[in-house]
Amino acid sequence: MTDTITNAPAHSTPEQHVEMGAAFPFWTVFKREFTGYFRSPIAYGIAFALLLILGVVFNGYITSGVAAGSAPADSTVVPGLLTFLMVFFAPLLTMRLIAEEAREGTLEVLMTLPMGEGQFVIGKFLAAWAYYTVILLLTIVYHIILTTLGVPDLGAAFGAYLGAWLLGGAVLAVSMIWSAVAEEQIVAAFLGVATVLVLYLAELAASWVAGQGSLAGAADFVRELGMQAHYDYTMARGIIRPEDILYFLFLIIAALFITTRLIEIRRWRA
């Protein structure tokens, strides 16, 4: 009795050495994409704009607030503002990730390599998240400045930074979906802003629902769908709840899954 090897070729010609493919191709994709951010003038421009806005606001907060004694030294101000700015900047960081490869045709080469779409999507996402992490870490400078002026609450600062990191990841993952759909990068960015804004402003929708009498019971549900409910009132104040962490992780995983499927569909219809 012989075992049947289902994967073996039907004809038995002596086969030359075959490369099996990288064990973790996402890591290769990540490395290229992450270093790519540092080669891209647009990425530098985005980082510059983000840090400039944060700096201007921080300066105003220090001079007219903390230094004047009218506001406490609060290290959650900067990450809080960053999460709001990311509504508009995250789509700019993710718009080219897939759209550019599809347009240039390099996606066709990648999709004929022994690598799954999921690995490709994860590598791309992690690169964008890592670049955002670098920007986030740079803002710790503001915390250091505050320690010279007062005694910021370290617990609140940690919560705010952890939350800003997770929220940033979720926003990047969600806006990346459009990069797999849109032909034009700018369209991907625009749709990304729209989608993320809806997620961010679910709070407003919840207040509206609350005023609708019979629907009022659904208001909490709508609020919980939004990002503010999982950041502004909890992590931004140093309250770290597992459900908030799970919410952002779920958003990331769901968005990556959708992006992967969209690339698969694109291939079937190519």
Binding site: N7, A8, P9, A10, H11, T13, E15, Q16, H17, V18, E19, M20, G21, A22, A23, P25, T28, V29, R32, G36, R39, E104, G105, T106, L107, E108, V109, L110, M111, T112, L113, P114, M115, R267, W268, R269, A270
Partner: protein, 317 residues
């Protein structure tokens, strides 16, 4: 090797590939010849595992492209039509990137080895954007070779190159054909004739002929038409030849008189020569009318068009 059986690709209502069957042997260059939009790229994309077929079966290096896509992708090197590259990377970094995903050991060394193979090692550190079109094409080819695959699928590799680059690339493809199974598409007929051991002609998603270029030529020159040139007015030559029993039709062509024999199996040349010499004319030239791939191609596509038009006209009347 590549085996394709009744392969079909539909896009909604439109059928791009209509059930084609052909094979490509290892150690040979198989040319995939057809006009633009014939279904060449669609077929190649199915063979590389980029997109699934709608129907039918294709086996590459012993694996079904649909069921064992991953196994196929490990064994195929693919150069897509427009040679997509990352313009902001150096040639070496790009090839190392593809090599690393493919699981090649020492990707950078291997990148240098394939760059050397395509004659571009001296530009390894150049950004791809600074390379000429021909050089980019060679980087693309190097990409397809990075994992030394048994099967190479090259979609119009000579398009947009200058004549010298075309000659070099054809030579390279011929050389590769000795070690790999090469399937190579082109819409340039003379190219297929020069480079390929076998030609598969495709038009409107259907294969209209396949075989060795010489065999195809022999098949189509079966008609046995001969070209006659004699030192006499062409009209008189034509009249003389038309009168022969072994000749069916004689017409005055550009270079001389073209005679179609009465029986395709019987060579009319000796009778024509005899008649002309008896007349006392000098015979300048008498040869079988050369048929090249171009003629075959035009003839076949014309046949296909007329046979396709007939039912259409019936339906509309």
């Amino acid at each position: 090797m590549i085996e394709v059986e009744n392969l079909v690709k539909r896009y909604g209502e439109f059928t791009a590939v209509k059930g084609i069957t052909f094979s490509a042997q290892s150690g040979k260059v198989t040319g995939f010849l057809g006009p633009n939009g014939a279904g060449k790229t669609t077929t190649m994309r199915m063979l590389t595992g980029f997109m699934p077929p709608s129907d039918g079966k294709a086996t590459v290096a012993g694996f079904n492209v649909f069921e064992h896509s991953l196994e196929v992708r490990r064994r195929v090197g693919y150069l897509p039509e427009n040679v997509p590259l990352y313009r902001d990377m150096t040639a070496r970094a790009y090839l190392a990137y593809i090599g690393e995903i493919r699981g090649v050991k020492n990707p950078r060394q291997r990148a240098d080895a394939v760059l050397d193979r395509v004659g571009l090692l001296d530009r390894a550190d150049s950004q791809i954007r600074t390379l000429s079109k021909g050089m980019k094409q060679r980087v693309g080819l190097a990409q397809a070779l990075i994992h030394n695959p048994p099967v190479l699928i090259l979609d119009e590799p000579t398009i947009g190159l200058d004549p010298r680059q075309v000659v070099e690339l054809r030579q390279l493809v011929s050389d590769l054909g000795r070690e790999h199974t090469v399937l190579f598409s082109t819409h340039i007929l003379s190219e297929a004739e020069q480079v390929c051991d076998k030609v598969v002609i495709i038009n409107s998603g259907q294969i209209i002929a396949q075989g060795a270029p010489q065999t195809l030529r022999a098949e189509l020159s079966r008609g046995g038409r001969v070209l006659v040139r004699a030192e006499a007015p062409p009209d008189q030559v034509r009249a003389l030849i038309a009168g022969l029993r072994s000749v069916n039709i004689a017409e005055v062509g550009m270079d001389g008189v073209i005679a179609t024999p009465a029986d395709a199996q019987v060579d009319a040349s000796p009778y024509i020569a005899q008649a002309i010499l008896e007349k006392g004319w000098n015979l300048i030239e008498l040869r079988p009318l050369a048929v090249n791939l171009e003629d075959i191609f035009l003839e076949l596509t014309r046949q296909q068009e007329t046979s396709a038009e007939t039912p259409l006209m019936e339906a509309s009347s």
